[in-house]
Amino acid sequence: MEGPLHSPILALALSPSLACPLGAMFTAASLERRTRPPSGRCSAQPPAKDRGPRFSEAWVELGSEAAGERAGATSALLEALRAGDESAFLHLVNRHQASMIRVATLYVGSRAAAEEVVQEAWVGVLKGLHLFEGRSSLKSWIFRILVNTAKARGIREARSVPLSSLASGDEDEAAVPAERFQEHGVWTGHWSQPPSEWSDDQVASAELVALAREGIEQLPPAQREVMTLRDVEGWEAHDVCELLEVSEANQRVLLHRARSKVRAYVEERLGKEVRP
């Protein structure tokens, strides 16, 4: 139970000055978001009877992303947490835990280490509750604590590499290799080896999901970070920029390279390239 607050990085994460600019997050729905199936993230809640005393239903609104960060709901949840209400804590845990572990895994070597980092982050969240002013969303505040905790751990494990150093250096990287396009004639720049055919069965199968996961795991760290937050966790560009401290343009370049590589990986593994 001790430690996290003594870490300078976590102390910084908990400070109101850092929490403030993270406000106004998780609002507009992106194009991608709209094309995705409903998230199953809230389905893991235990039965209400196992969750200790009941209180105002207001905070339950947090389960809905649209209504999610309403100030009233947040303050009801905070009040319950500060009062030591286990069901309020479990609500938060069930909502964010899986996502937190995936994000922590970006910075530390193993799933086990990620779980430890997340637990450490929760301790930090609880200890810092009295510092949270509600001007940023609770979610962004929690993830800021998580990322700082994970980075500190990652540095100890010598795994963390500064994002800025990874964002450059591969400017010439093409989404699709140049040899797949015509190099001469009227149709220069048009497909010579068009995208392969994916059957409906392949697209609907768990295989595609597994391949996408593998593809993401093989990305360079900065690209993996951005694509995980954007496309797996469903974060908005703005929120990712704030959390990772990158510019919007930089974020988009990283996302573009990541998505292009993951599609290429899936195509390669599905192994049905169409040759002209």
Binding site: M1, F181, V266
Partner: protein, 85 residues
Amino acid sequence: MTSAPPHLTCQHLVELVTEYLEGKLSHDDRSRLEQHLCFCDSCVKYLEQMRQVLRATGRLTEESITPEAQEKLLDVFRKWKAGGA
């Protein structure tokens, strides 16, 4: 072809896909991209595959917390509560 109005090649289009999906293309570039899609089945397929991959990545979140992990965190919470942190 050289005297034709500026048009997108497939090679160029695949580099604009993310900006297109993010709604960050200029009006002109967006129009050119969509015009290209009207006659290029391969690029339509490319874009569709990108969307399919993104839908698949969205399904990676279907994971729930184990009872053991939940119990561990409840311990953390109870200790915090008892200690007043």
